[in-house]
């Protein structure tokens, strides 16, 4: 009899207890992400997944990104810039402690910046720190950074996840046990499954509103759908199945957030390779592509056509899509002028994401219309990096460049699309040196126009940031100015 009672308890009472809990105000949040971080050091890998979990939750930099993409003070409460623009004095917030209880001060800033710019650094964005010539501790809360020349992007660069401030004492185990200064403390990592954060009760700034946050890694799109629908997960960041969003929109339990992100998706073109070294051929490519058809077919309508490598939500954006409008007749004419009246054959190497694989099929058929025959090969990321990115053995490829404000890659002649324009490089040098906002905007516009006129790549579309959020969760970022899931002001509504 007792046994039956026990069984009864398990079957009836246990779920009851849980349902009671579910009705109380929740202070824990489960966030679904598609990719798991390889390790937990944001300064030691490019993986966006690391920042998605840790940026501004666990680790903070001197400056940080706000939800609208503007740069606001972080660990530095203010800064003075010398009149020639080469010396920055950062005034650090007082009373900032690492999660292990030690104080964060100027020597940690020096350590972090020196580590990131060192000769043998493994920082994936070494270029961000290239102009720093010296970092000097003035006192506990004051640090001076000297640059070789003025850099208008400097404060922006310091906001990246790759520039967060770390402590020398905890650096050795940072990949497994990250110790930061943020509003959440790293609690545990069950590899392959989840990462758990808990509230930092000694946080120096405005404390977090949640007690616990769990990031669950769900790579399969249909599993992501099921986990949201079953309410195992409260928020799914960068939801991988856009075809299912309609169902969430129709369901009162969920909100769908459609914002902007920094992913310019482009048909990258090997500018050094025949026949793409001919401007007319590249121009013909641009006119052969129907951007809206790709957005509709590959992205289920989520995305904004672009005519240059720049984010449409950026204040300095110039709409140049008209210059690459869909015009197959013009495209054929240009090909004939370039000496390819019957078209030609080239390769299209596609990495795994759906935007590339689905988009690639559509582009291939559009190019066939104008006589360009493409041989599609599907590659894994590791293969793509080896063959296309490092080996430059490709004609065309499709990839989304997700770093914010990354037009600077066009000034690197050794970069995989091998575009080498002295004019563009000069504009970028001037832009970096310029600190006047009006001048900067004008230079950014020039830069966009040059690469549009040169048809360096086929500019396809800006990706949308799609998140599915439980309708009672407040404070999730709609846009994604950097790869981050900032939970510092997220909470549950009653």
């Amino acid at each position: 009899m007792k046994f039956i009672k026990n069984i009864f308890f398990i079957i009836i009472a246990v779920p009851l207890v849980f349902s009671v809990n579910a009705n109380a105000a929740k202070t824990d949040l489960t966030v679904g992400l598609q990719l798991e971080p390889p390790h937990l050091d944001p300064t030691g890998a490019a993986a966006g997944a690391i920042d998605q979990v840790l940026y501004s939750n666990v680790f903070e930099g001197l400056t940080r990104f706000a939800s609208d993409g503007s740069i606001i003070p972080g660990l530095a409460k203010s800064w003075d810039v010398s009149s020639d623009g080469t010396t920055y004095i950062f005034h650090l917030n007082k009373g900032v402690k690492y999660h292990d209880g030690s104080d964060m001060d100027a020597k940690d800033v020096k350590f972090s910046l020196d580590r990131a710019r060192a000769e043998d650094t493994t920082n994936a964005q070494k270029a961000l720190f290239a102009g720093i010539t010296n970092v000097e501790v003035i006192d506990h809360h004051k640090v001076e950074v000297t640059l070789d020349k003025p850099n208008g992007n400097f404060l922006f660069n310091l906001a990246w996840g790759d520039a967060v401030i770390v402590s020398e004492d905890s650096i050795e185990n940072i990949k497994q046990n990250p110790v930061g200064t943020g509003a959440y403390v790293f609690d545990k990592w069950v590899q392959g499954d989840r990462i758990e954060l808990k509230k930092n009760s000694d946080y120096w700034g405005t404390p977090a509103k949640l007690d616990r946050a769990t990031f669950k890694f769900i790579s399969d799109p249909s599993a992501a759908f099921a986990s949201m629908m079953a309410e195992d997960v409260d928020v799914f960041k960068s939801f991988p199945a856009p075809e299912n969003l309609v169902q969430f929109e129709a369901d009162a339990r969920f909100n769908v957030l459609i914002g902007s992100n920094e992913g310019e998706t482009i048909l990258s073109t090997n500018n050094k390779m025949e026949p793409f070294n001919n401007l007319k051929v590249r121009k013909a490519l641009a006119h052969a592509i129907d951007r809206q058809a790709i957005i509709d077919g590959a992205m289920f309508g989520y995305g904004t056509p672009i005519g240059t490598h720049f984010a449409p939500h950026h204040p300095a954006y110039v709409d140049l899509t008209g210059q690459s409008n869909y015009d197959p007749a013009l495209s054929k004419k240009l090909l004939a002028e370039a000496g390819f009246p019957d078209g030609f054959t080239t390769t299209l190497k596609l990495p795994p994401p759906a935007y590339a694989r689905k988009g690639g099929e559509i582009i291939a058929s559009q190019l066939r219309e104008v006589g360009i025959n493409v041989e599609i090969s599907n590659l894994e990321w590791a293969q793509w990096l080896e063959e296309v990115f490092r080996g430059k053995d490709y004609g065309l490829t499709i990839v989304s460049h997700t770093e914010p404000f990354d037009i600077g890659i066009y000034a690197r002649p050794e970069y995989y699309f091998q575009y080498d324009s002295k004019e563009f490089q000069k504009v970028m040098d001037n832009l970096t040196a310029e600190t006047n906002p009006v001048q900067r905007t004008s230079l950014m516009k020039d830069a966009q126009k040059i690469i549009a006129d040169d048809y360096v790549n086929g500019y396809l579309f800006q990706r949308a940031q799609l998140s599915v959020v439980n309708s009672k969760v407040v404070g999730m970022w709609e846009n994604s100015p950097t790869q981050a899931t900032d939970l510092t002001s997220v909470y549950w509504q009653n």
């Binding site: 390889p38 390790h39 490019a46 990949k175 069950v190 499954d193 986990s227 195992d232 490092r390 990839v399």
Partner: protein, 316 residues
């Protein structure tokens, strides 16, 4: 006997050495580099080289192979390039999910399949037999990941009895651990049970045509009595062989089901490591699997000889 034993041991070592070479070579020649994977598409070439050095990838391949083998001999399977944790720890953590899942699925499939197979054999040619054959045919034909999605849709999304996936960890209690493995185990068990039921049925039918069954019938046992007391035991041998094969499949082959239910199992570890070119993890995990299969075969070979005198005379 002793000579045979020595010969088997030499074969065992040669198998392992050859396996290690094949594994190492085939993984080294696939294109891709863990360092450039880690650093992404803004990385500079010098940073990639610095990371390769830090990971020990700049060492010549032969030397790296020898270091790997040397490490394994003393039980050190290396450190993951991407996760930077010891491979052996990662594997044992994943085994806590994969092993219980495989056992759970195997128990389910065996407990369903054997009675069903016996029932079908006992009713050979009747409607009940034909319907069992039909249902198991469907069970084999349905892809298990699709069946898994149906289960998720019904039990997680509509009825809300189960989570759609994930594994809370054994520290939350055996009940919750088993609960989260239930839908995956059912999806894995369905095709296995269908195969097993058919094997059980045909093996039992074969056995029932043997002389000793006829003798039993002649002694006066009814068909069903003969089937239960003499047939089943003798029909189990091929069934056990299949169960053994299925178990090794369930251990490493549950990748797709692990993905559907986002379980942190061994299959997903291998899958992820291949994508990230975390070669050392792939190499070591495959080597561990090879090792366990080879050792089990070795033990079975020796056991045969000890048990079966006919084999002993043939080898000596």
């Amino acid at each position: 006997m002793f000579e045979y034993f020595i010969r088997r041991i030499i074969t065992l070592f040669l198998t392992l050495v050859i396996a290690s070479i094949v594994i190492f070579v085939s993984l080294e020649i696939i294109p891709g580099d863990p360092a450039s994977y880690m650093l992404g598409i803004n990385a500079q070439e010098d940073t990639i080289l610095a990371l390769r050095k830090e990971l020990g990838l700049d060492v010549p391949k032969i030397e790296r192979y020898l270091m790997w083998v040397k490490g394994m001999l003393i039980g050190d399977f290396g450190v993951s390039y991407t996760y930077r944790s010891p491979v052996i720890e990662m594997v044992s953590e994943r085994l806590w999910v994969s092993l219980p899942l495989a056992i759970y699925a195997l128990i389910l499939s065996t407990f369903i399949a054997l009675p069903v197979g016996v029932y079908a054999a006992a009713n050979r040619g009747k409607v009940s037999d034909l319907s069992v054959m039909g249902v198991t045919q469907i069970g084999i034909a349905i892809p298990n990941f699709w069946f898994a999605m149906l289960l998720v849709y019904l039990f997680a999304i509509i009825l809300r009895w189960f989570s759609a996936g994930g594994f809370p960890g054994w520290e939350t209690g055996i009940f919750f651990g088993l609960k989260s493995l239930t839908l995956p185990a059912i999806s894995l068990a369905l095709p296995q049970a269908s195969i097993l039921a058919r094997v059980m049925r045909s093996s039992l039918i074969d056995t029932l045509n043997e002389d000793f069954i006829k003798t039993a019938r002649a002694k006066g046992l009814s068909y069903n009595q003969a089937l239960v007391s003499h047939g089943i035991r003798n029909a189990l041998i091929p069934v056990l062989t299949i169960i053994g094969l299925q178990f090794s499949f369930l251990m490493a082959g549950a990748i797709i089901i692990e993905n559907v239910f986002f379980l942190p199992g061994l299959g997903r570890l291998i899958f992820q490591s291949i994508a990230q070119r975390d070669i050392i993890v792939v190499e070591s995990v495959i080597m561990l699997l090879v090792f366990s299969v080879v050792v089990v075969t070795f033990i079975v070979d020796i056991a045969y000889v000890i048990v079966d005198p006919r084999l002993r005379s043939s080898i000596l």
